[in-house]
């Protein structure tokens, strides 16, 4: 079974600085998708960024980028120029590409990010 591990329960960053959130996963599949979701205090889950495992290029969305290391099964999220609105819980998630794994997002336990003004 696939698992997703976020080893940092809490992180803190100064406004305008850069922070990296860690995520590792375990799978025997070769094709899959990885996601970072943000959950602000409103509790609404918002997709931050997604990565297809077959793509070597790391995904980027404005101030958010990932470092995807397939061999190491690592998928970290880097937030540049942190803003107060980035304060939230961040969840790493895995989705298999084939069969019963499709659509079944497997989430890590989350990292609570605080942004200091």
């Amino acid at each position: 079974a696939q698992t997703v591990t976020q080893s940092q329960p809490e992180m803190s960053v100064q406004e305008a600085e850069t922070v990296t959130l860690s995520c590792t996963y375990d799978t025997s599949e070769s094709d899959y998708y990885l996601f970072w979701y943000k959950q602000p205090p409103s509790r609404q889950m918002i997709l931050v960024i997604r990565q297809e495992a077959y793509k070597q290029q790391n995904a980027t969305e404005n101030r958010f980028s990932v470092n995807f290391q397939k061999a190491a099964k690592s998928f970290s999220l880097k937030i540049s120029d942190s803003q107060l609105g980035d304060a939230a819980m961040y969840f790493c998630a895995y989705e298999g590409y084939y069969g019963g794994s499709q659509g079944n997002l497997i989430f890590g336990k989350g990292t609570k990010l605080s942004v200091k003004p």
Binding site: R43, E95, G103, L105, F107, G110
Partner: protein, 113 residues
């Protein structure tokens, strides 16, 4: 544009009482629908998913059940709530079951007393 609604937003129910949470999606047809539960201090756990009317798959055996009576309506139910059913319940939809973003609703906070 597509929107997803959940109600109620909060609910306090005694142990042993029934439960019905509703999720509806607007602006799309034949979505894939999902129910997740988020317990305190933990990530999301997929409970049920549905690829069409009347088609429900369960991921976790438990006290809960789901139904999809209409294309864009997904209901989470229980005949008798347990204390362990407390949590934050999120409904989500996606275009397909593979690779596409899942769009989440605002959630329902359930407290079983």
């Amino acid at each position: 544009s597509q929107t997803i609604h959940q109600w109620p937003a909060t609910l306090v129910q005694p142990v042993g009482s029934p439960l019905s949470l509703e999720c509806t999606v607007e602006g799309t047809s034949n979505p894939n629908l999902y129910w997740y539960r988020q317990a305190a201090g933990r990530g999301l756990q997929l409970l049920f998913y549905s690829v069409g009317i009347g088609q429900i798959s369960s991921e976790v055996p438990q006290n809960l059940s789901a139904s999809r009576p209409q294309d864009r309506q997904f209901i989470l139910s229980s005949k008798k709530l347990l204390l362990s059913d407390s949590g934050f319940y999120l409904c989500a939809w996606s275009v397909t079951r593979a690779s596409y973003e899942q769009y989440f609703g605002p959630g329902t906070r359930l407290t079983v007393t």
